[in-house]
Subunit: 310 residues, 4 copies
């Protein structure tokens, strides 16, 4: 999260969001259609779950969106951070369904799950907690064989929470690259706590994408992304916004004021308003402990369901 702001094609400075959906919304607000980007939305009224699939299909679309070509599925479920077990089960099924569309799980696969983030900071502990709840099978198959455990087919699941750079002295991407080279999975699934633009989105949105994890995401500072380009295997990214940059909060609160200013004035105004300290701060809900507990459980169940059948 080094660079708080992105230059997009329009040249104006925008504060970062990790959610593709938030970018399409901005275009929608401006009544702009984006070429090369397909948006499909479904709403389940009964469950109050909205699923939006954003497909970036051309290079131009990628440029407009400021993110790579690929599929971005967003599940919005307001009750995600409440302790209703049946509701969470349904979201787990939903996650499982989408995963099965992005990964061909009809054939036996070797899957490496990476729980990104810092387990010692509650808001950043989503990834590590998901890996903690995951059923690993790779070592059992390796030791006893499928016959030994009376299965005909089975996915080989492995996983690790590699920690963050301040804890390890290593880029997360270096660690993952090393493990991928050594254990040769067919696909990597990386789980991460994301930064949203809006507090409204926190703890109630799950983004699943086949484009991996990109730099500048989340609470921590992953300089190198986890992508198919880097790792030479398919990378699925699953993210939940759990924080908003502190600077974003101030920025957004003053959006209306900013609109009345010229671009150069905007920059001056912001530089004055937002103290440098703010860029090393994040905003998170006061019940973040409960929230992360429920969310990590729901996602790990989603993975467990998806991986339990061949």
């Amino acid at each position: 999260m080094k660079k708080q702001e992105d230059a997009d094609m329009s040249g104006s400075r925008r504060i970062r969001t990790d959610l593709a959906l938030e970018t399409t919304e901005r275009f929608a607000e401006e009544n702009t259609e984006i070429r090369g980007v397909e948006v499909h939305e479904e709403y389940d009224e009964e469950k109050d779950v909205r699923t939006t699939v954003v497909k970036i299909v051309t290079e131009n679309g990628a440029k407009s969106m400021g993110r790579p070509q690929g599929t971005y599925i967003t599940i919005e479920a307001p009750e995600l951070s409440t302790p209703d077990e049946d509701y969470h089960r349904e979201i787990s099924e939903e996650i499982s369904t989408h995963l099965r569309k992005l990964i061909d799980l009809e054939k036996e696969k070797s899957v490496l799950v990476i729980g990104l983030g810092n387990a010692a900071i509650t808001a950043d502990a989503l990834g590590p907690q998901v890996v903690d709840n995951l059923l690993m099978t790779r070592h059992i198959i390796k030791e006893y064989g499928l016959r030994g455990i009376k299965h005909k087919k089975m996915h080989r699941i492995s996983g690790i929470a590699p920690g963050v750079m301040a804890q390890t002295g290593m880029e997360t991407a270096e660690i993952v690259q090393g493990i991928v080279s050594e254990t040769k999975p067919d696909v990597v699934v990386a789980i991460d706590a994301l930064a949203a633009r809006s507090v409204r989105r926190l703890s109630r949105t799950i983004q699943i994408t086949d484009t991996g994890i990109h730099p500048g995401s989340g609470v921590g500072n992953h300089r190198n992304g986890l992508t198919e380009e880097n790792l030479q295997v398919k990378v699925i990214g699953i993210g939940v916004p759990t924080v908003v940059d502190a600077a974003t909060i101030v920025h957004d609160s003053m959006a209306h004021l900013l609109d009345t200013l010229e671009e150069t004035e905007q920059k001056e105004f912001l530089d004055e308003m937002i103290t440098p300290n703010l860029y090393s701060m994040f905003v998170t809900p006061k019940d973040v402990d409960e929230t992360i507990k429920y969310l990590s459980f729901t996602i790990s169940e989603g993975l467990n369901i998806a991986f339990s059948q061949v």
Copy 2:
């Protein structure tokens, strides 16, 4: 942290701070002297440690400051959240010295230390982590007697991290009241993570007061304070600001703008700017895990030093 705003004597709405020092600073900005309040400041240039003692000595002073009569010691040490062991040792000695002024440790005392806050939220885990590092002696003296452990005199130290209301279903004050009634300590020392007004203050300021802990402090929601009035024993409060209310950040960024508005306009403006969600959010540094680790160690060492001699 239910009520985000306080009415002070001037009638204007002010966002809450747990630090007496921040209140005196506001008055200083306005060039107002406060009757019934004595402020004494010392600065150790070599160590870059500033110690301010605020004494509220009259009922009027208490009213002006919006907090009870008593002594508020603030230690400001910019390097508090860095891993320099020798520096931390000096701050621990400083804490110990002030504690010995507030508690008469010349005579044997029975001290109950309360680690307030939610151990599962990093920014709120200061209190529980301090208790974790504390040397307890009460049970040993009770079991073997002083002679059994070859001491002539010794303070009887006990401690607990009672958790927060969402975890226990009980007011923290109820739990502490019960334990105080049963174990009858001479003095209670309560450690808490506080809310500051300014991000500049975070993780570098320690407040020690003989007025206990008051409602509306910190990350959590302690409705009933821990005070001598409630518990019938002296209560020392030790607090470190680790969070700022999200709403405060926005409010403060717009302070200059607000100054140009009438009071009623100010309110309208703020209501529009600050979305209700923001009131359930807090702002905290991205390295809060390291920060809390060092701070809790420094404070627990301060207590251990103070309590090790009679």
Copy 3:
């Protein structure tokens, strides 16, 4: 776990067990019937769950069994430490059913759940982890009233993990006594990790009793029990054996040899065999982390189910 051995009625020294069932089994081995003790056993073949209800109904029975009059329900379920969710759900229902027999939950009750043990030692963390997963309601009802949360009737649930004496400097019984005096629950439910006699029993047995928790149980050292006599409210104890005393292991391995010796020779032999160090050691399974995780989840679900309806 101060005293490792108990004198039972026969005068011979026996190494301690926290399970009533293990005591009845010893009598059964010796083909002795115990007056004043009723044993009723049920076995569900399909689920492979055995439930034994031991009722100690006379003072003589209590003397023979070395434990107070009351009901001791033991659920033996070999699959308890495996990750089969449906199986655990059934055991949770079973726990709930027995709780409803021991506590009259037809009427609204105020229940205080105590998670005994040391959260920092995996084998002793059962109690704290159960409390962690419990739905607390007392504070919500207190704040909003039943009407506020749209319920007609509801149990008021509160809970705490008080830590162990080495952590707090206080007897657990002192802390609980204080909280009981202050919050006045109708019933206390105390969860504890127990010491079994046999490794065969570990992590697959749940004991529920209306006689509370007695000294000398578990990994830690609770000198004063949690009983109706002490606390002046009904106390339900729920325990799972997670450790065996290290000395017991040696003792039992040599049981046949011991049988060939005279009583005084037995003592000498044991004193020589069992080094004093062994008495400060415990034996626990290598997968104790997974085991405690599943068990605490199953028990907390059992409590949540029992308390969810009036």
Copy 4:
């Protein structure tokens, strides 16, 4: 810890120890001198610290000892698990001195520290906790350069706690191999909780060796060792015995009895005595939480001191 017993040169079955020192002691008991093995012992009476250096210098010595050629330094310090900070500082210095003999730290080195073991099982959490307290520098040098942080020379320290196979589905050796290939350290330092033969040794002995970590060590099950042969870089192993195999306890208690039996009788006797369950159990002290906390602090300080100077 799959195989509990080892065949040594004499053909008799011996229960496993991870400590070279315990093997030399057995020979000493039998008054046997071991060719190809040099033993040098020093005792600091004032500090009550005994340091033994065992050097296995020939292939024959390696065969006799049942472990590879190399240097095994054992520091025995009875007060290691007590909270005396000055004492721990001295042991940290001692560790640092020995490390500097085994690694040439006169030249800048890139060091990867591996914290082996399961952080969720207290007795096995030594390695992860050491890594937790370590000062990482590699990422800072990589980002800012030495000039950027105003140093002329500096070791590049990185580290990770890779978890155990049951948590990751991967061999620890696979993970470490991958990270070594990717980050190319000059030397690997692996910290592990070991299994001792005798409870007397627990938590008071530190073994440092330049032969790495070998299969069958500790609480967990590392099938493939971490050795120079596997990883193609020098591997220093630092281990502290924190557990004893449960079967060992029984075995050793009966040592005198066993001596009276023929070899085949011994085997029969043991098979009868030691129930198979015991092989999946370990023995550990009741204060293992405090013990691991102090030990991990002492070792991480030892590493920090050793690595702080070039």
